[in-house]
Amino acid sequence: MLTCPALAASATLLTDLTASPQGGAFLSATADPAVQTLNGFLAEVERKAFRMAQMALRHDEDALDAVQDAMLQLARRYSSRPSAEWRPLFYRILENRIRDLQRRRTVRGRIMAWVPWRGDAEETEADPVERAPDPAPGPAAQAEGGQIGTALQHAISLLPARQREAFLLRNLEGLDVAETARAMGCSEGSVKTHYSRAVHSLREQLSEFMT
């Protein structure tokens, strides 16, 4: 019987879709240390990246798409770069992808609002996530209700993009100022400004529940 190594590897991948975050079965199919290093890096960042994208996009499927695209781009284009460079690169790709998705939503909303023959209004409404009033209570009300974690995420999602990015890269990913500046593609001074404004804004809303 003819067997193709690539097909065999694909079959291994498909049967291991629910493997552990460290991807044990996948790694057993390849002994390439470069793949193992990349797998370890992606496994470490994927959940944090998802939370970041989720707070930015406020949509789980879009957040998963953004993380998947960022992982694909890093693996395709930058996997040959030194692994020390991956982290800021990955988060820069992710943020660009998030912005693309936000722009696409806006454009789609404008086009659909203009198209006269649109059918199902529910599907074609302009950017329902942006336009619909948020049914959830505000961050302070959520904090009062004991949902302090949800309240914090909600408050972060309402921050301006650069402030949100700086706050999450520093506090969720644990990057220092220099790494955050590389990931955001700006100066360290800008990072400090965005970060300080983000902390000030969040403290105003939530400090009495979080200290």
Partner: protein
């Protein structure tokens, strides 16, 4: 408590809450992320396929927009249609020698008749 210490305590608490939110991610989402990671590892070092619709879609949209622009540009405007109509009339007159002569010669009979009528009834009643 100074403002700096207060901020620091706030940040530590925020980090703790964010870390909890990552640790408590549901199983379905974790599984989707694992699938995505495996797909990325399998695609490592490869170029995106030209048959990938997500690659083709922007190019297709640009091509469609260009086609519409070319069609709109190429269609003769209303003014151009009128102009081309009068040019055809001129061409017809030039080609038809009889018609051209008729249009150039004065109608003497009619002029004589009109002059006679105006002499008979100068006020035109």
């Amino acid at each position: 408590m100074s403002n700096e210490e207060d901020t620091s305590a706030f940040e530590l608490r925020a980090r703790e809450l964010l870390r909890d939110s990552v640790d408590n991610l549901d199983a379905a989402t974790r599984s989707r992320l694992t699938q995505s990671r495996h797909a990325a590892l399998a695609a490592r070092g490869t170029r995106p396929s030209w048959l990938d619709l997500r690659v083709l879609a922007p190019g297709g949209a640009v091509a469609a927009a260009a086609l519409v622009a070319v069609l709109l540009w190429g269609l003769p405007s209303h003014h151009a249609l009128k102009e081309s109509g009068s040019a055809l009339d001129d061409l017809e007159l030039l080609a038809d020698s009889d018609g051209y002569e008729l249009s150039q010669e004065p109608d003497l009979e009619f002029i004589e008749w009109a002059a006679a009528m105006s002499e008979m009834d100068p006020v035109g009643t």
